[in-house]
């Protein structure tokens, strides 16, 4: 039998249904691939061999009876931010040492309800704070892609869902869950030649996902094809009474949207996304995307989003403010690490000092500062007002167009240690963060390679709860781009 890890999700699903192979066989194929490759890539921080095999066997029983859900027998990787009952869940932080939740997140519960198999927990930036997967307590994740021309330097997979990106790109899972607060699904997807979608805020339940910035966080999939992301999101999305911000709207058949044409669709090109000093090949790729959609019958319209440049600085007030509040719970009392002291306040301070890494400390401190007495109005309230203006920008644009096309990130994957200045690192999210600030859905599609052979992505931004138009348009981009490049296997 050919290598089962080569199959994408839709192919694996169909093969399982026709019993061309069993869930146990494909699960074992992935477990072997992980055992062989993970030491070099560091994508998984916990591999659940026994649980994966037990889940696969249960799937095989259902499949044998002609039963089973939409993901029956499909082996997935789960970002460490999702609570998985009795399994390592630490947001890749030292401060959650040993934490094993006695409950399961709603998103992963939905996946298991539909028959998916858990291979293990995936590496990520600590508490999802990072754009390069260099802040994990468990070490850097390595991008399977390398620059062409014999440059063997390791590259980052992007972040914060870096483990999800590397594992899916290196065929160490069929697809993976991610979360996206400012670009944490879309930017790593772009860096590793994958599809990744952040759905509309409220589409997936946040219950059981370790909170970073509650008004921005959303879960979504990373996968090798647009169709696979559509299938995944159809399972992950739900209305959940346990998350009051989850919306009570039916989940459409996203997969049915893939393959629909875009004739007559109005595609907006936001002129403010044309940055000074942006690499020429990003601009060229963007223009190529415009041409592809034009050729497919879409109408291209230039639009203006004047408050774009303020999205990132206001994000770096809102997100740290919410993080400082959410991370207040890690005090060494109820779970995780405790650094003992006779005095309770000193115990908190020592625990948090040792338990949090430098980037997390930095953001908690910024958040504490902008929320502190006398500064709240000048920073947090102001940022929330600018957020209203950013959202209005999109509302005006979407009065005229159906979807927006932009690059996903201003550059391809870089080397670890290459960006040390926090603000320069934050600029990686410049095209993605606006989408979170406005609560909209955004998808990244692999569209081409840069001059050094590294993948680049194009982003589509949709109206709230119009993920179907994203899947439909992304399907056309995918088809036009014909992106078949693969990293040469060195690991």
């Amino acid at each position: 039998m050919s290598d089962l890890t080569e199959l994408n999700l839709a192919e694996a699903r169909d093969g399982l249904k026709t019993k061309a192979f069993s869930a146990r066989e494909i699960t074992d194929a992935y477990l072997s691939a992980i055992d062989a490759s993970n030491p070099a890539l560091n994508a998984y921080i916990s591999v659940t061999h026994d649980q994966a095999r037990a889940m696969a066997d249960a799937s095989d029983e259902k499949l044998a009876k002609g039963e089973g859900g939409t993901l029956e027998g499909i082996p997935l990787g789960i970002k460490d931010l999702f609570a998985t009952k009795g399994v390592h869940t630490q947001a890749c932080s030292h401060i959650l040492d040993g934490f094993q939740p006695p409950y399961e997140s709603t998103v992963t519960s939905n996946l298991w309800r539909d028959g998916a198999v858990m291979l293990g927990k995936l590496n990520m930036d600590e508490f999802a704070m990072g754009s390069s997967n260099e802040t994990s307590y468990y070490g850097n994740v390595v991008n399977p892609w390398r620059r062409s021309g014999g440059d063997n330097a390791a590259l980052v997979p992007g972040g914060s869902s870096g483990g999800s990106a590397t594992a899916t790109s290196a065929h160490l899972c069929v697809a993976a869950t991610g979360t996206d607060t400012g670009g944490s699904i879309r930017q790593p997807a772009a860096f590793t030649g994958l599809v990744g979608i952040k759905p509309t805020y409220g589409r997936c339940s946040r219950w059981g996902i370790v909170a970073f910035a509650s008004s921005l966080d959303q879960a979504g999939p990373l996968s090798r094809t647009v169709r696979d992301s559509a299938i995944m999101l159809g399972s992950m999305a739900s209305h959940d009474p346990k998350d009051t911000t989850s919306v009570d709207l039916p989940v459409p058949d996203y997969e049915a949207a893939v393959g629909r044409d875009v004739r007559g669709l109005k595609v907006g090109i936001p002129k403010e996304y044309r940055l000074d000093g942006m690499p020429g090949e990003i601009e060229t790729l963007w223009q190529q995307g415009v041409e592809w959609l034009k050729q497919a019958g879409a109408e291209i319209v230039e639009v203006s989003l004047p408050y774009t440049k303020y999205a990132l600085p206001s994000y770096y007030i809102v997100a740290p403010a919410e993080a400082s509040s959410n991370l207040a719970r890690y005090d060494g009392v109820r779970y995780g690490l405790r650094v003992p002291d006779d005095d309770v306040i000193t115990m908190y301070e020592k625990t948090r000092s040792e338990g949090f890494g430098p980037e997390v400390k930095r953001r908690v401190m910024i958040g504490t500062y902008v929320l502190s007495a006398g500064y709240y109005d000048a920073y947090y309230l102001k940022a929330q007002k600018i957020r209203t203006l950013i959202k209005r920008d999109f509302e005006k644009a979407f009065a005229d167009v159906d979807v927006l096309l932009t690059p996903t990130s201003p550059n391809a994957a870089f080397a670890p240690g290459e960006i040390t200045d926090p603000v320069t690192m934050y600029l990686n999210d410049i095209f993605t963060v606006t989408v979170n600030m406005a609560g909209l859905p955004g998808i990244s599609v692999p569209a081409g390679l840069d001059g050094r052979g590294l993948p680049l992505g194009l982003q589509l931004i949709g109206k709230a709860f119009d993920e179907e138009t994203l899947f439909r348009t992304a399907g056309v981009l995918e088809e036009s781009a014909g992106f078949t490049a693969r990293p040469e296997k060195w690991w």
Binding site: S215, V247, M347, Y369, A438
Partner: protein, 95 residues
């Protein structure tokens, strides 16, 4: 917006994070850089603009005021670093 070391220490205290002298110095520079960068928001006129409170239009949901979960002290305290009889143990707080 330059942050001095005393401010770093005050913020660290509020955030309940102990910082060494070296860390305080490094944070002073880093926090100043980030706060300088967000200063550009001063260019924006937000007069009369409502702050965002909900990113998608939804009305707050209500549920019945009934006990829906609980009675599981073993699970609640399962991950505690120190516990006794379903209590979280901490150093003495009140003399």
């Amino acid at each position: 917006m330059a942050v001095d070391e005393a401010t770093v220490r005050r913020i660290a205290r509020l955030a309940r994070i102990s910082v060494s002298d070296d860390e305080a110095k490094a944070l002073q520079g880093e926090l100043s850089t980030i706060l300088d960068w967000v200063e550009q928001l001063n260019e924006v006129d937000v007069e009369g603009v409502e702050p965002m409170t909900s990113v998608v239009e939804v009305s707050m949901k209500m549920r019945d005021d009934v006990v829906a979960d609980g009675e599981c002290p073993d699970e609640v305290t399962a991950n505690a670093p120190a516990k006794e009889d379903h209590f979280f143990m901490v150093p003495k707080v009140v003399e």
